[in-house]
Amino acid sequence: MADDGVNTKVEAVSKATTETIELRTEDGGVFDVDKPVAMEFLILKSFYEDEGRVFDKTSIRLPNVKQLELSKVIEYCTRALEFGAKSAAAAGDKDAERMVRQEREGFEAEFVDELSNEMLKELILAVNFLDIKEMLDFLIRSVANRIRNRSVAYVRQFFDIENDFTPQEEDQIHQENAWAFEGVDAD
């Protein structure tokens, strides 16, 4: 690749440590994931590091994650690591820093645009389970954006929630708890 030095450096690194972990999703998908990417999943990191397990070629089954989600997670985390490396390489050069930031924003915008509402929800649950802080924060902000300025009906439909208020309750919810937001302690 006729890329800038940083790109080739990242690739070289990941080729050098060809350690991968095999991850199996609950719907039968099998993924060979580079170790640096897999270690972004804190649930895996603590599984190995905290428990002092030896990192050997074992296969790990992820019970709450499906293949579609995992492939998206791997895509995002791989790019996030690349951006991290580019950002570090550009440190001190304001123009280069801005370029990396814009590139990242462009990638994130496109990434989230391609996600259906259903996929976005599934991803949040998967990423929450895998405990990937940066990606979770990104997804949460994206979903918060999607429900901004939306009607109650839209939000219910988006999250697949049933209205469990009785008509009297619906009237009441605005009276009760009003005090709760005036800074008075509940209990």
Partner: protein, 385 residues
């Protein structure tokens, strides 16, 4: 254990058949949602109502809004309002019907807005100014008086009057009786003063406090007993050429400009310690240099400071060039400074006047505003500082 090649991570304790977003994740999502949208979120379901409540209490609490009212200086004096919500860092445009105009809109402290004409006196003090009170004008007409709401009384004092040398009486309007009352005594320093230029006003439950910006000389007035107290010297030092007062976290604070109006060297915040006879000021914080630069604006001239306080927040602006708003949040004894571009442009500033109020807007207030049918809130996107 390690016998085979396969290991399995513990399944989530709450692994459920349906993918539902709830609990901690839902609360975190809600902490990123602007207050105005949380009003809708509360209505989604019982679970969401509780999640909104919990998110507001534990993750991202409600913070006071700064509301910028823009009024045309020409009849019919149409007004427009924009509010800044620091909790979500968003500006909202508030569409409202034109206030039945009396005259120029003014505010001297917190949420109070008022207008006066020779016949009428109108004022409003709820967070979103849904309710306007109208009454006969006070007995004596005056330009630019001090107007303050203390408890259930509105105090009108000082101001200027072109004819006659007699001192203008202080008048008190009691909301409960709907009547005006007169009090003749007023400290000499407050006579003949156009309040918005020379005086800074702050109010607590019982008293109104009036500080002369340039000297720091302060008087307080209790309308229930019609008693004046003071003078007190609240000037933090000779290096402070102009100050303003407010209440942050229920303590009186003094914001002081250091240097001179053409060359402001710094802006500091002092807390007025509750003492006995002696007034003691404790320095709380200093505005970072970068923000002082923003405050000065293009003209680099800062003759006095516009101050709005509510809860743990202080909002500061340059009255002659309010392009940038400086925020100061006081928590655990420390000041956290920030700034935001004033989205209300100064383009036709000659034809407009800007009035700033600060409100503790809660979900109940938003609900009432929306239900009233004559408020609409639109979040303005892409406001970059």
């Amino acid at each position: 254990m390690e016998e085979d090649n396969q290991q399995e991570l513990k399944a989530e304790e709450e692994a459920s058949a349906t993918a539902s977003i709830h609990g901690d994740v839902l609360e975190i999502i809600l902490s990123h949602v602007p207050l105005i949208d949380l009003e809708h979120a509360r209505c989604v379901s019982n679970n969401w109502n509780r999640a909104v409540f919990s998110s507001l209490r534990h993750l991202n609490p409600i913070k006071p809004w700064l509301i910028v009212h823009k009024q045309s200086t020409r009849h019919p004096y149409a007004t427009m309002a924009h509010a800044y919500d620091p909790r979500s860092g968003v500006w909202l445009k508030i569409d409202q019907p034109p206030i039945n105009q009396v005259s120029a809109l003014r505010s001297s402290h917190s949420t109070l807005l008022y207008m006066q004409s020779s016949l009428q006196f109108a004022f409003s003090f709820d967070p979103l100014h849904l309710k306007w009170y109208r009454t006969n004008a006070p007995l004596v007409w005056r330009t630019d008086p001090i107007v303050a709401l203390v408890g259930h009384r509105v105090v009108v004092a000082g101001g200027t009057f072109d004819l006659g040398d007699d001192p203008l009486p202080l008048e008190i309007y009691d909301l409960r009786t709907g009547k005006w009352d007169i009090c003749q005594r007023i400290p000499a320093v407050l006579k003949d003063s156009p309040s918005s230029l020379w005086l800074s006003v702050a109010v607590d439950e019982h008293k109104m406090y009036v500080t002369e910006k340039s000297s720091g000389i302060t008087h307080s007035f209790d309308p229930s007993t019609k008693t004046w107290y003071g003078p007190y010297d609240l000037r933090p030092g000779k290096h402070v050429f102009s100050s303003a007062i407010g209440f942050v976290n229920d303590s009186m604070v003094v914001v002081g400009l250091i240097g001179d109006s053409e060359n402001v060297k710094g802006v500091k915040l002092w807390e007025v310690m509750k003492g006995t006879e002696m007034v003691e000021l404790r320095e709380m914080g200093e505005m970072p240099e970068e923000l002082v630069g923003k405050l000065k604006g293009e003209s680099a001239c800062l003759p006095s400071i516009g101050l709005n306080t509510m809860g743990q927040f202080a909002y500061l602006h340059n009255p002659s060039d309010p392009g940038e708003l400086i925020l100061c949040e006081v928590a655990d004894g420390a000041c956290r400074w920030g700034s935001v571009r004033n989205v209300v442009g100064d383009d036709e500033s000659r034809m407009q006047r800007l009035v700033f109020t600060c409100s503790d807007v809660g979900l109940g207030d938003l609900h009432d505003a929306i239900c009233s049918g004559n408020r609409r809130f639109t979040v303005k996107d892409n406001i970059v500082d």
